[in-house]
């Protein structure tokens, strides 16, 4: 991991929204060398752009390289070749201007909710006072007001993940990267969290990339869906979702939604890959 040569972006990047693209990936390749010495192509010739403020989802079956892509954007995994830029600068390591959420909330059990949310502030040594006010406001936004001094062990899975999302937003990053953030939640909670995420996104206007293996979730959340296929991991389609916003759960039953689902599923069926 190239943590030594990291790109440090200014905390506030006001110029970002003026740029045509926040993220530009060109001819991105990632090759893993396994322990037996074989080369596995995780990503092949991946290229796309993300505009500032856009909500992009990446959908694909297991092994399509979607998590690899996200980790490269997060700067915690080095690419093998190609270029990828964040706000015009090549990504060479983790950036202070990115927030990440993984499938597991990975909260620190000895820190209470507020202290967990403040983790990026502590790591990046940002001023605490204003960050704490922001953390409390974000916790209110995700409906966790009053839980500031509770410990992760006292929270449900859904609540823990909401703490994780709050943590990813507390340092006001330009880009939010989410790797199957609701994959471990039950279906009911998951729908609820999707609605909440859209609400947070609407209010905070972040650029979001969310990786999922659920086709309906990918469509429901996104402005655009990047469809990926495995062996080797590559982009097979980029779909503009023309459903109106704000979205509500009833849209899942609309004809247009069904057409989007059918189009994505057709990609996977033609590849013989099973829909997860």
């Amino acid at each position: 991991m190239g943590t030594e040569a990291r790109t440090v972006l200014p905390a506030e990047a006001p110029a970002l929204s003026g740029l045509p693209a926040l993220i530009t990936a060109r001819a991105l390749n990632k090759v893993y060398r396994t322990q037996t010495g074989e080369d596995v192509v995780a990503l092949r010739d991946v290229g796309f752009e993300m505009r500032a403020g856009e909500f992009v989802t990446v959908v694909g079956p297991s092994g399509c390289g979607k998590s690899t892509l996200l980790k490269i954007l997060a700067g915690i995994l080095a690419r093998s070749s190609g270029s990828v830029t964040l706000a015009g600068r090549p990504i060479e390591g983790p950036s202070r201007d990115v927030g990440v959420v993984f499938q597991a909330p990975v909260l620190l059990p000895w820190r209470n909710v507020l202290q967990n949310v403040m983790l990026p502030i502590d790591i990046q040594k940002r001023p605490r006072a204003e960050a704490e006010a922001r953390a409390r406001a974000l916790l209110r936004l995700v409906g966790l007001s009053g839980f500031e001094t509770k410990y992760p062990g006292e929270l449900s899975g859904g609540m823990q993940q909401r703490v994780g999302i709050t943590r990813a937003l507390v340092h006001d990053p330009a880009l939010l990267l989410m790797d199957e953030p609701f994959g471990a939640l039950d279906a009911m909670t998951r729908e609820q969290m999707n609605l909440e995420l859209l609400r947070i996104w609407t209010e905070s206007r972040k650029t979001v990339m969310l990786v999922t293996h659920s086709i309906p979730e990918a469509i429901f959340l996104a402005d655009r869906v990047i469809v990926m296929s495995p062996r080797p991991g590559r982009i097979t389609d980029i779909l503009d979702v023309d459903l109106p916003r704000p979205r509500d759960l009833a849209m899942i039953n609309s004809a247009r939604f069904g057409e989007h689902v059918a189009r994505i599923r057709a990609h996977f069926q033609s590849l013989g890959a099973l829909d997860a």
Binding site: I76, V100, W110, P120, G153, L177
Partner: protein, 266 residues
């Protein structure tokens, strides 16, 4: 009264457990008296109790108790500190583990009783040699558990912190070290019990004071009741120290329930 009855129905062991003790002691007393077993083979519980109370009142047991306690606590503190610091260094520098860990394991396989006479020669008949012996026994469980604990941090956790631009040192301080603490306490709990053994072994090998010294002396005089009285004190000392470690653990590692699986217990 009905609450008492409900409690007993739910947890009958709180009555049964003391009952076992009473029956055992009564049976022992009856057997010693009934069969006329000589006191130099098995003393009666009443004789043990007399020796215990007499020894405490005369101050003899108290004096030696403090000597052994000092050896246990100082040796445990030294051994546990060395084990923890070494464990942290090994956790920070994996090369160090590959380089020196084989030697540490080799040292651990050496029976400490076997090297106790050498340590007594080196450090004398006083309290110092007992502290050294106790420390050599107490350090390994803390070292081993610290190393395992520092490895226990989930990969996700590290990746997340790296993504938030955490340095190696920040990841260590904010995630790995706290994550290791429950393991460290398992090691401390094992070490404190071993520390009592270490102190007694050291006193057996060569000493002028302490409960181990007193056991040898009383054994020599065939004062079995007196020896049994010391065994009771040693057992209470072990229980007390174990409870002390547990109490500290509950405060420090407050996020782990007391019923946490102690898989690393030796």
């Amino acid at each position: 009264m009905s609450r008492m009855r409900a409690l007993l129905r739910r947890r009958p062991e709180i009555l049964l457990s003391p009952l076992v003790f009473v029956l055992f002691v009564a049976g022992w007393e009856a057997a010693v008296r009934g069969f006329g077993i000589p006191a130099i083979v098995i003393p009666s519980p009443s004789a043990v109790l007399r020796a215990l109370v007499g020894g405490i009142l005369s101050g003899e047991l108290v004096e030696h108790f403090w000597v052994t306690s000092a050896e246990v606590i100082l040796g445990f503190t030294a051994g546990a500190s060395i084990g923890f610091v070494l464990g942290v260094l090994v956790g920070l520098f994996p090369l160090l583990e590959r380089t020196i860990y084989p030697y540490i394991v080799a040292f651990q396989t050496l029976p400490k009783v076997a090297i106790a006479p050498i340590i007594v020669i080196w450090f004398g008949y006083g309290i110092e040699s007992k502290i050294v012996i106790t420390a050599t026994i107490a350090f390994f469980p803390v070292l081993a558990n610290t190393i395992v604990g520092l490895r226990a941090v989930p990969r996700d956790q590290v990746e997340l912190m790296v993504a938030f631009t955490a340095s190696r040192w920040q990841i260590f301080r904010m995630a790995r070290l706290p994550q290791a603490l429950p393991y460290v306490f398992v090691g401390l709990d094992v070490a404190i019990v071993l520390a009592v053994i270490g102190a007694i072994v050291g006193e057996f090998v060569g000493s002028q004071a302490g409960l181990g010294y007193l056991i040898l002396q009383r054994n020599f005089h065939m004062d079995m009741a007196g020896v049994f009285a010391i065994l009771i004190i040693l057992s209470l000392m072990g229980i007390g120290l174990h409870l002390l470690v547990n109490a500290v653990q509950r405060r420090v590692v407050f996020w782990i329930g007391s019923t946490h699986d102690r898989v690393m217990g030796a």
